[in-house]
Amino acid sequence: MALLEVKDLSIIYRTPFGIVNALNDITFNIDKGESLTVVGESGSGKSTLALAIARLLPPNAKYVSGSIIFDNIDLLKLSSDEMRKIRGTGIFMVFQEPATSLNPVFKVKDQLMEAVRIRYEREGNIFDENKAISEIISVLKDVRMPDPELIIERYPHQLSGGQIQRVMIAMGLLMRPKLFIADEPTSALDVTVQAQILRLLKDLKREYGISILFITHDIAVASIIADSVMVLYAGQLMELGSVKSVMHEPKHPYTQALLSSIPRISKTEGKLPIIGGSVPNLLNPPPGCRFHPRCPFRMDICSKAVPNLTKVNDIYVRCFLYGQ
């Protein structure tokens, strides 16, 4: 049973300079207890996807088509008040910038308490501050936070980036959501701290059985955290499959190029192959497959039509090399 089903989702932004086609026909599922990693470069629409699922898009964004079914409810059909009740205990999200993820004028304790209070209310329980505090402390211990009793009395600016991301993850655990969205939660962190957080998320997924939608620009990170991987390029879903298959036998020329063009710590061979050109401007995207101007295998048809998502072995891929 899929926890989240996204189908044919398309989103545009209206800007003073024209319409930005941020996402086109995105389709995927996340099962209960599964983790899906979305990999994409800047402008791929990966953050838009995260915000779209949480219905947090800015006012100039528009859902053009598609549906987002979460727990058998179509999120796009909910009123804003109904959506509010999904947030927190249904879907929770951790953001990229730890420095501004927490409200600077409130203590950590108050911000975590707020989350616990909302869950209690929704569960129909009476809120008890002492009980909440002990729950907060125990969850902070779960996220391997040293000295949680001291940390909760602090203000966010007194915490390091890694500590804030731990607090954010703890906040998520306190709300017990069914789906955990993490939008580049480690990009602003140091390598060693990133590794700590990745490891923590992996452990928690096992311990708590949460489903994770993890968004990253670093395909190597996906390798650590993901069960399955979805590759986005310029708003198009290029490839979707299990992490093993995508990493070892990528089907789409973009994924292949991306995997071979990043420097790797375990690889020593000569010069890196490069992808020519640059990420297209979404105000004026190339017609057809958006990767075709940079693709070494491009054919005439690539600039004329958008290929359908085809299943090759256990990978879904959007490329004319695989038929149609």
Partner: protein
């Protein structure tokens, strides 16, 4: 000193004020808070090679790079360029030295003046040295060609009209137009997309071969350091912990921090990471002994008391760790 050393430092120290210390603080006799960004660093950078300086945020790697190109004044210690002490150079001397020392900055968006045209940005170093008119235009066109930028379509544009990769090429062109010997590359690709990163890295390699450049590559990305560098230096909280040739250090890291760092780097096909505990400590009150002591799995009593000296352990690899000091 071998003749193949281009830049050498002796006990280089850079201390910053942690916060503004003005007249009133002086009147109130408050103690200024210092940050020891670069703490007693002695290194040698070989000619014509790429030395990578790897560290996390707060390690002082950028400050060290800025010291080497004279953008910062050291608090104490010496910097030798071709065995000439450049620490106290001023005025005309400084200008002449700066022609030979260049830097490519981390953020291609803030490294180009948005109000200037591309050709003026690239030509500025030559213009400051009296080159004008056609000669200047030709020099700019030549270097633009070398870094893969089309002169006719881009010369009169402004930075906002360029992509991140193009901007970084402009920054590289500006750094190279004075024919420098030494270039500090400060995270040259960290702001770029994965698909443009390789383009810029390969361009840098090409230019190095063509102009016999010496690079200091500052990066937090161990994989980039591995791809680019001949020599690697691992920096942590203002100290150099390990120096050696890149292949050996990454294959068999000796310092516990280097080991932990490498175990933290995600890679394709890897599914488990073994990061160290804790985070980089405060530089305002650094630990008395070894900087890595609080996070080190192999810590001993001596580590907390005394700073380890940097000693050669095997074939040119130097490590600052009590594990390798023979008593």
């Amino acid at each position: 000193m071998g003749s193949d050393v281009l830049i050498r430092t002796e006990n280089l120290v850079k201390v910053f004020l942690a916060k503004n210390y003005g007249i009133i603080n002086r009147i109130l006799r408050e103690k200024p808070l210092f940050v020891r960004a670069v703490d007693d660093v002695s290194i040698e950078i070989p000619t014509g090679k790429t030395t990578a300086l790897v560290g996390e945020s707060g390690s002082g790697k950028t400050t060290l790079g800025r010291l080497l190109v004279t953008l910062e004044q050291p608090t104490s210690g010496r910097i030798y360029f071709h065995d000439i002490d450049i620490t106290k150079a001023r005025g005309r001397d400084l200008r002449n030295i700066r022609a030979k020392l260049q830097m490519v900055f981390q953020d291609p968006y803030s490294s180009l003046n948005p109000m200037m045209r591309i050709k003026d940005i690239i030509g500025e170093p030559l213009k400051n040295r009296g080159v004008r008119g056609k000669e200047l235009d030709e020099a700019v066109a030549k270097i633009m060609g070398e870094v893969g930028l089309d002169y006719s379509s881009l010369a009169t544009r402004r930075p906002s009209e360029l992509s991140g990769g193009q901007r970084q090429r402009v920054a590289i062109a500006r750094a190279l137009i004075t024919n420098p010997e030494f270039v500090v590359l400060d995270e040259p690709t960290s702001a770029l997309d994965a698909s443009t990163q390789a383009q810029v890295l390969n361009l840098l390699v090409d230019l190095q071969n063509r102009h016999n450049l010496t690079y200091l590559l500052i990066t937090h990305n161990v994989a980039v350091a591995k791809y680019m560098s001949d020599l690697i230096m691992i920096m942590y909280m203002g100290k150099i912990l390990e120096i050696g040739d890149t292949g050996s250090v990454l294959k068999e890291p000796l310092h516990p921090y280097t080991q932990a760092l490498i175990e933290s780097v995600p890679d394709i096909g890897k599914s488990e990471l073994k990061p160290p505990t804790g985070e980089v400590g405060s530089l305002v009150n650094p630990p008395k002994g070894c900087r890595f002591y609080p996070r080190c799995p192999f810590r001993m009593d001596i580590c907390r008391e005394r700073e380890p000296p940097i000693v050669e352990v095997k074939n040119g690899i130097k490590v600052a760790c009590w594990l390798y000091v023979k008593k």
